[in-house]
């Protein structure tokens, strides 16, 4: 078990294992997406109050969940990276940021589309919308910080501190905003004893949530593989993988592109 994790943390093995996992994860994601969309858009009955427009929930709710999950996951990865100095955790965290920001944006955009017919406005300053917007700002701040620092290693560590500060703040922000103003409908799924949502709607929602989750893992592994290649481009195993020197050329171009001034 520990040996597996130890191996996984080495870039070389990660690259290989992730490469094998990605097709399986991707295939499963596709199947779940098709099943979830079919059940959600065709099988599930229309809502007695909201009509057909509630169906946007099958995208909206999973992306809102993912936006929070990814932030917390990034915080855990950053903590691992900072404490045990594991490079791969940094790579995974910085590869997750853009995905998290997009999920947050998707949740806001679908929420806005749903809000127009339901609340009669594209945007209201409701508590959950506002805290989701602030979450987007937190993601964008992280991305801005990481891309502003030249050295990738320093960038990931600085971003890690920011993420950890943010994750302490998220509950505080959430409850302060909730207290400030709330209009959003209450949670319908998390009341496990008797959810106020019918099974025919709950099932596609959960399938979609799983699909989103797997989509995230598929794409983040793909992004992390590329990132690993870029960081390790000078090491032996990468040279062996690309013996024709195509990475070397990319390396030279990268250097010319990124640091024309800092040459000694």
């Amino acid at each position: 078990m520990w040996l597996f994790f130890h191996k996984l943390a080495s870039p070389k093995h990660f690259y290989r294992i992730a490469g094998k996992l990605i097709p399986w994860l991707g295939g499963l994601t596709l199947i779940l997406f098709l099943a979830g969309l079919y059940l959600g858009l065709i099988v599930a009955p229309p809502d007695y109050q909201q009509g057909e427009s509630y169906r946007i929930m099958f995208v909206h709710v999973p992306s809102a969940w993912m936006s929070l999950f990814i932030y917390v996951f990034m915080a855990a990865l950053s903590a691992i990276g900072l404490i045990w100095n594991i490079k791969l955790a940094d790579v995974m965290a910085s590869s997750s940021a853009a995905l998290g920001a997009w999920f947050t944006f998707l949740a806001l955009a679908t929420g806005s589309l749903w809000g127009k017919p339901m609340w009669g406005a594209w945007w209201v300053w409701d508590a959950r919308l506002t805290s989701e917007l602030i979450l987007l700002f937190l993601y964008l701040g992280y991305i801005a910080l990481v891309s502003a620092i030249e050295d990738k290693r320093t960038a990931a560590r600085a971003g890690g501190v920011l993420i950890l500060v943010g994750v302490v703040n998220i509950p505080i922000i959430h409850y302060s905003v909730e207290w400030w103003n709330t209009l959003h409908q209450g949670p319908t799924v998390t009341r496990l004893d008797k959810p106020s949502i019918h099974l025919s709607m709950l099932l596609p929602l959960l399938i979609m949530a799983l699909a989103f989750q797997l989509y995230y893992f598929t794409v983040v592994l793909m992004r992390a593989r590329v990132e690993v290649l870029e960081r390790e481009r000078r090491s032996g195993w990468v040279q062996e993988l690309f013996p024709d020197g195509s990475l070397e050329r990319a390396d030279v171009m990268h250097q010319q592109h990124s640091s024309p001034v800092d040459l000694p």
Binding site: L82, I134, F137, L138, L140, G141, A144, L145, A148, I149, D151, T154, R157, A158, V161, L162, L164, V165, G166, V168, N169, I172, I173, S176, V177, W179, W180
Partner: protein, 225 residues
Amino acid sequence: MDTSLRAFNALLRRDLLLAYRHRGELANPLLFFLMIVTLYPLGVSPEMELLRKIAPGVIWIAALLAALFSLENLFRSDFEDGALEQMLLSPHPLAVLVLAKVLAHWLVSGLPMLLLAPVLALSLAMPERAIRALVLTLSLGTPLLSLIGAIGVALTVGLRRGGILLTLLVLPLYVPVLIFATNAVTAASAGMPIAGQLYFLAALLALALTLAPVAIAAALRISMG
């Protein structure tokens, strides 16, 4: 522990002395604060009723921005002349030294704002009860702004254009402070009790006082490589 306390005192005295030697610069954040507040009657409306309504938000947002811009230079000169590196190398816990710097900074920038705020509140036609609440929330809130902001400053200290980046990093983290503080002032002007909001701000301040110095120290160590 005793030597750490001595280092804390020495650094605090040094920073206050440095600030005193550059007293001209001390007025800048205050002027900024004043000008932002002045822009609102010009930009929105000089009508007293409206001003009284938006005054808590106006003053707090101005204080928040002024605190942020004055923070930008918290570590700048120490970074440029190498003093910051010496602090990193010193045997004392960096978190303690950093706390001294933040405290010195608050004494020279946060405290004057606290004194100026009642005057600005009067110019926006705030009732007396609300002014008392404003001063209370500012006295709990401005140290919070300094502590949280210093984390962002520490993360961006080595960067050439850190200013705008700093606002992106720090402003979302300021949201709870802004909400509780303005809510307290609004409640006070309506004659409602504000103990709950003040306790919340005090709790946040206690949390920031304990955790922020550690985060600032970690961030400084990373930025300085």
